[in-house]
Symmetry: C2
């Protein structure tokens, strides 16, 4: 009797929620059933419950389910309280203004890169990545620099579980190559994305480390091969370093004001 799900009923319901989100589009009950380990009535009741709880939304027209708006509300709270974003915001603003290129702020969530903030360059290069979006760690600048400074055990387990997918001719495709790259990043203190995820897209990334060396997140400046090159991006290393330091300091000094009873907006 292998425990696949864990955490009882609530865990299972959340698994269903993840399933729906993973589809990336409104999904029918039967489609969900195909991919679900649960029997029909069980899954049915989960979807009912989640819908009634606004965690899913139901389109009666097309008979489809999608992640619900309650999540957006909750996520706002999460974003403000459990991410670096609010602390980093002024620093990211300043960085963005100084470099005039797209800037990303990311954190590591499990083995994945979670983008938690972004500033578009003046002319918006629309591409993959927005706050809340996740991506693989091994082929993004921010992912690699965060991984590089993780605990060796974490690195091992991430690499072990990672299925390497080749996005471009430059994608790092083997555990060995990734380990080399990580060593390289540790040696320099920062890293690059050399068109490893999208052709023509390059970036320079800097980890945000606590005083004890723990990885808090990462920053990156992204551009295109048409506008600049790796050497050009490397010029941003000092300001990135400085910004990362500022964020790290603020993060460690920061704590929520202990007293205040906020004027609630809840009804």
């Amino acid at each position: 009797m292998a425990r696949v799900t864990g955490d009882g009923t609530v865990g299972k319901a959340l698994e269903v929620l993840d399933q729906v989100a993973a589809f990336g589009r409104p999904v029918r009950f039967s489609e969900l059933l195909d991919k679900s380990p649960f029997p029909k009535p069980t899954l049915y009741r989960f979807v009912q419950t989640l819908t009634s709880q606004q965690m899913l939304s139901y389109d009666p027209e097309r008979q489809t389910y999608a992640p619900g708006v309650r999540l957006v509300r909750l996520a706002h709270a999460a974003w403000e309280q459990s991410t670096l974003a609010p602390i980093a915001r002024p620093h990211v603003d300043a960085l963005s203004k100084a470099v005039g290129e797209t800037v990303h702020l990311a954190q590591l969530d499990h083995a994945q890169v979670l983008y938690i903030d972004k500033r578009n360059a003046g002319n918006p290069v629309q591409m993959y990545s927005q706050a809340g979006k996740v991506g693989p760690a091994y082929c993004t600048g921010v992912g690699k620099v965060m991984l590089a400074f993780c605990d060796p055990k974490v690195i091992d387990s991430v690499i072990e579980q990672q299925s390497f997918h080749v996005f471009t001719p430059h994608t790092i495709a083997t555990p060995a190559a990734l380990r080399d790259e990580l060593a390289d990043i540790r040696a320099h203190g920062y890293g690059f994305d050399r068109e490893e995820h999208e052709p023509g897209i390059i970036c320079v990334a800097m980890p945000i480390l606590s005083d004890t060396g723990r990885v808090l997140g990462a920053l990156s400046v992204t551009s295109t091969t048409r506008r600049t090159n790796l050497a050009g991006l490397e010029a941003y290393v000092p300001i990135l370093q400085e910004t990362a330091n500022h964020i790290s300091q603020d993060a460690q000094n920061w704590s929520f004001p202990d007293y205040e009873t906020p004027e609630a907006t809840r009804i």
Copy 2:
């Protein structure tokens, strides 16, 4: 035996999640216990489960809980699939560029205004920074115009449940005043925020209606009394109207491509 919670165990767990989010800051177990209808061990296990599921994050240092990062991931999916935001994005971009003022895109969620996108006047930040925030419907431009075009029954129930809170000298403070205002909005087709929520902050708001007259959302252009006045904002009505129409059209024509098997980024 009044059923307060509904939806069994999952509903209760989500109630706890809301509680944590409502605090707006990291919260101790005992604080939560004070405000919770659940007995100690029950609440304890819920918090454990939610934490293990990454819906809450736990800070062992301070012994506090906060909404977890998994929510940010899930919310991204919700934002993309269950809101107007992705459809409206290009139109909101264009509007923002044209007017050079702060632009909001909102939807109605229960009786509350849910901001789902925003363009700041100065730097084009698009994202959760503000998206996900909720506010009362009766004293925001977007809230009023959405309410105005809702079903009369909905209006009644919202007004009935609304507890009016006076934010500024201009805040609409009575059901009667609100009904007058809504009638006025229906007559004109658009509405204003006359410093009703924050002193010095004014806006003009336009509902986004489907062909059948259903409320899909609302747009607003916000400014300050220092920079302009209501007459100045009214000049934006034509472009707001046009933008709202475009969004409405796109929303009704749009449906997810039925076929495609998206190249998954999941590990």
